[in-house]
Amino acid sequence: MADWQIDLIKVVFIWVWALLIAVVMTWVERRASAMMQDRLGPNRAGPFGLLQPLADGIKLFTKEDIMPEKARKILFLLGPPLFALPAFSAYAVVPFGDKIVLGGKEIILQVSDVNIGFLYVLALGAIGVYGMVIGGWASNSKYSILGGLRATAQLISYEVPMGLALLTIVLLYGTFSLREMVLLQQGTFLGFLPNWGIFKQPLGFIIFLVAAYAEANRVPFDLPECESELVTGYHTEYGSMNLGLYLFGEYVNLGTLAAITVSLFFGGWTLPYVDMSKFLGPVAYGVASFMVFFIKQAFFLFLFVWVRWTVPRFRYDQLMGLGWKALIPLGLVNLFVTALLVQLTI
C-alpha cells in the first residue's frame, strides 16, 4: 500500500470514529443522565435504546429546514458546518495509539504527526467560535445574537487560561508534538507515580479541564445555549440537519477535548508500570494501545456528562470573573513556577 492510501484509510477511520463517538455520546448522555436522575431514559429503539441516535438522526433529516425570513442566507447556512468541521479536523493530530504493523509496514496510529500539532489544536478550537457567532448573528434573532455574543466572549476568554495551562506542558516536555508528549509520559515519576502530566502539573490539569468545559459549552459553562434563559442560544432558529450539525459538532468537540486531555495529562495510549509492547505481538499491540487510549477517553467523555448533570450554571459575569480573575492569574503563577522548576532542574 502506498502511503497516501494508508493516510486515506486513517482519515476515514478517524472520521468514522469521531462520528461514532458523537453518535454514541448522544445516547450515553441521555441514558446516563436518566440513570443519575432516577429515570430510565430512551430504551425503546433497539436493545437498551441503542438505536435512539439513529432515530434522532432520521428525524432531524426529515424535518423541514426552516430559514427565518430576515436571516442572512449564506451566513445562516455557513454557520453549522463552520462549527462542526474544525471539531472534526482537530482529530487529525490526536495520537490514538502507538503503532501497528500491518503487512510488514509500520503504521503510526495518528493521521499526521505534525510537529506543531498542539498549536493546530488551539487554532482549530478558536475557529469553532465563528460557527456559533455567525450562526447567532445570521439568524437575526435576539436570543441567537445574545447566545453568539456570550459564545464569543466566553470562548475567547477561556482560550487564554487554556493556552497558559498548555504552555506549562510545553515547558515540561519541550515539544509541540502531541505524539512526542505521549512518549515522554512513559515510565514513573518520583519512583511510584505514573509519569503522567497530571502528577507533574495538577494545577495545570485543573485549569485545562475547566477551560475545556468552557470551550465545549458544557454545563456549568453552557451559557451560549443556556436553555432557560436564551431558549437555546445561538441555534434557536435552526432546524433540521443544520441543528443536527451543531449538536453533532458539540459532541465531536467533546471527543477532541477528551482525547487531548488524555494525550497531555494521562499518558495517551500508555499504561502505567506496564510496557505492553514487550509481551504483545505487533498487531495486538496496536489494537491494545488504541483500546487503552479509548478507555481513557471514554472516562473523560463520561466525566463531561457526569458533571453536566450535577452542577448548576454560571452567570455570564461570574463566568468572566472566574476566567479572568481566577484561572488566568492561577495559570500565570503556575507557568512561572513551572518555568522556574524546569530551569532549576535542567
Binding site: S33, M36, Q37, D38, R39, K142, L146, V219, P220, D222, C226, E227, S228, E229, L230, V231, W309, T310, V311, P312, R313, F314, R315, Y316, D317, Q318
Partner: protein, 381 residues
Amino acid sequence: MATETVCITTGPADVGDYVSLNIGPIHPAMHGTLRVITRTDGETILSAEPEIGYLHRGVEKLGENFTYKQFLPLTDRLNYCSAICNNVAYELAVEKLLGIEVPPKAQLVRTIMMELARIADHEVLVGILGVDLGALTPFFYLIIQREEIYEIFEWHHGARLTNSMGAIGGVEAPLPDRFHQKWPKMRDSIRRANDETDKLLTHNRIWMDRTIGVNAFCEEDALNWGFTGPMLRACGTRRDIRKDEPYLMYNEFDFEVPTGKHGDVFDRYMIRMLEMEESIKIIDQAYAMYQEMPDDAPLMKKVPKIIKPPAGQAYHAIESPNGELGFFIKSDGSDKPYRIKIRPPCYMIYQAFEELVKGEMISDLIACLSSINVIAGELDR
C-alpha cells in the same frame, strides 16, 4: 431592622442604546404564559414590564354565575401546584360566610392535606428553580416525592392534580389507608430528597453565586408592595397567617416560622427548604391528634343541600405555600355568590417585578421569576 441599602442606578430606559427583548409568552423559563417586555443594555436590565392576562379565564365572572358548590372545582385551576390549599381557602371563606365551623376531625384532615400540598408546592418550586439555574437533577429527586404525595391525594379524593377536595362543611373521607401505610416512610424519603437537594445545591459555590444577593429586597418595600408568604419572610418579616391569625387548628401545633435576612433568591430558597421540614412536623402532630379521635367522629357539618349564605360579605385568608391566599365573597342571600374576589399571593408580588429585577442581568430575571413562584393560573384567574 435597618439593613444597609444601595440605590440601583441604571441608565435611562427610554433613551440611548438599548435592546428591547421580549421574553415570553412562549419561552422555556416562563412558567405558563407569562410575558416580560424588557429593555436591556447588554445583559443588564433597564426596565422590565410584565404583561399578564394570557390565561385570563374570567373565573370571578364565572363564580358569579355558579352555585357555591359548582365554584369549588374552579379553585383547583388557580394554583395547580397546590390545588388543595385553594379548595380549603374557598371552603373556609364560604364557611365563614355561613358561620359554621367544621368538626375537628375534618379540620385535621384538611390540615394534613394542606401541609402535604405545601410540601408538594415547595418541592416543585425548588426543583424548578434548580432547573432554571441549570441544575436539572434535583428536580427529579424532588418530583418523585411529589408523586408520592399525589398518590395519597388520589387515594383520598380520587384526583391527583385538580383535587376538588372536600366540600363546604367538611371533608368527604377520612385519611386514606395509603396515608397510614406510607406516611412514616414518606416522611423519611421527603427528608432524604431534601437533603440530597441541599447537598447538590446549597453549598455549591456556583449556586451561591447565582442566588445570594440576587434580587435582594428591602423589608419596607416588600410590605409596601404587599408581599406575603416566603417572599416576605425572606426579607425578614416574621409573618405567617398560620401563626398570626390561626385558622383550622394551627394554633395547637408547634412549628417555627423561618425567616431570612436579605430577601434574595437564596433566602427564598432556604425558607422553602426549611418550611418543608416544618410542614412535616405539623403533619406529624396533626396525625397524632387524628389517631386519638374515634373512628366515627364526624367529618361533615350538616349543611343544607343548597347553600344559601345570608347576605353579607366576608374575607378569609389562609397561608398558602406562596403567601396570603384570600377569598372575598359577597353574598346576596341567593345560592350564587354575588361577587367573588380572589387574592392570589403571587399577583401582589409579581407587580413589583420591575423593582425586583431592575439593574440585574437576564439570568437573574429568570432566577427571580422562578423564586417568586408565579403561577399563571392564579395570576390571571
